[in-house]
């Protein structure tokens, strides 16, 4: 089973790296880019666990380790069953 977890800054948090990327895109002529927010992708491979059990532990792992809940939010999805 493969799970993909996206971690990004909460909307209230300033993201200067995202701004730096945006400015670079503007320099390259892509003026339609209004905003850029940068985040992280984690792909977890799990085995010996049911979908139900995975749905219980993934939010826990994400909240405790992968994301810092003070500044980050996360979302996740199972991308490969098995």
């Amino acid at each position: 089973m493969k799970v993909r977890i996206l971690v990004s800054f909460k909307d209230s948090v300033l993201d200067p790296q995202g701004q730096a990327v945006k400015n670079t895109l503007h320099t390259l002529g892509y003026s339609s880019i209004k905003d850029v927010r940068q985040g992280k992708v984690f792909e977890l491979e799990l085995e010996g666990i049911s979908k139900k059990e995975a749905e219980k532990i993934i939010p826990k792992i994400s909240d405790k380790v992968l994301a810092n809940p003070v500044i980050e939010k996360f979302s996740w999805q199972i991308i490969e069953k098995g």
Binding site: Q17, L66, N68, V70, I71
Partner: protein, 229 residues
Amino acid sequence: MKFGVVIFPGSNCDYDTYYALKNIFKQKTTFLWHKEHDLKNVDCVILPGGFSYGDYLRSGSIAAFSPLMQEVKEFALRGGLVFGICNGFQILLELGLLPGAMLRNEKLKFLCQFIHIRVENNKTSFSHQAKKGQILKVPIAHFDGNYFASPETILEIKKNSQIVFRYSDAKGQLNEEANVNGSAESIAGLINKAGNVLGMMPHPERASEVLLGSQDGRIIFESIIAKLS
């Protein structure tokens, strides 16, 4: 009275901190390896600067899960003095012993320079030998020192007088230029509500001898020593 300096893989200010405590302040000091479960009866735990676990995931995030940190957390909850410097401050934030979090420096540059901090609260175990408003010249060396907390947390912090040091200019003025990393409220150093855990981004252990350009950092160690005596 004994001090303990925790070492994580990637810590690099452990020896500077040990040197300051042992050789400059003449204190009994021991190293504490992060994998152990023994605080060796120290009276003050110091989490030194550096790049524990290479700053993987988030600065200080993996170190916060080290075996010894369970003992450090319990020691802090019992009222023991814990002092986190730079990466140590980041670890305390990740551990939840201090409120808030660190972001990348606002101008996206690694800052390695002398700055000034102003003493905001001199009624703490770490600053009682200083005067309120006193300016200390200390060095910083960090990429992720931009302190962040939600508006509610900032209100709480201010209500409880938890801000110990703020970035200021040499004259003690708070302004955008002095707040080099963009920290909320120009926060350079913070204590917990109980007052026994301090985290600060600047390095007082590197400002304890005139030889290194400033000895303004002495007053923090002298405060701790006086408190424990």
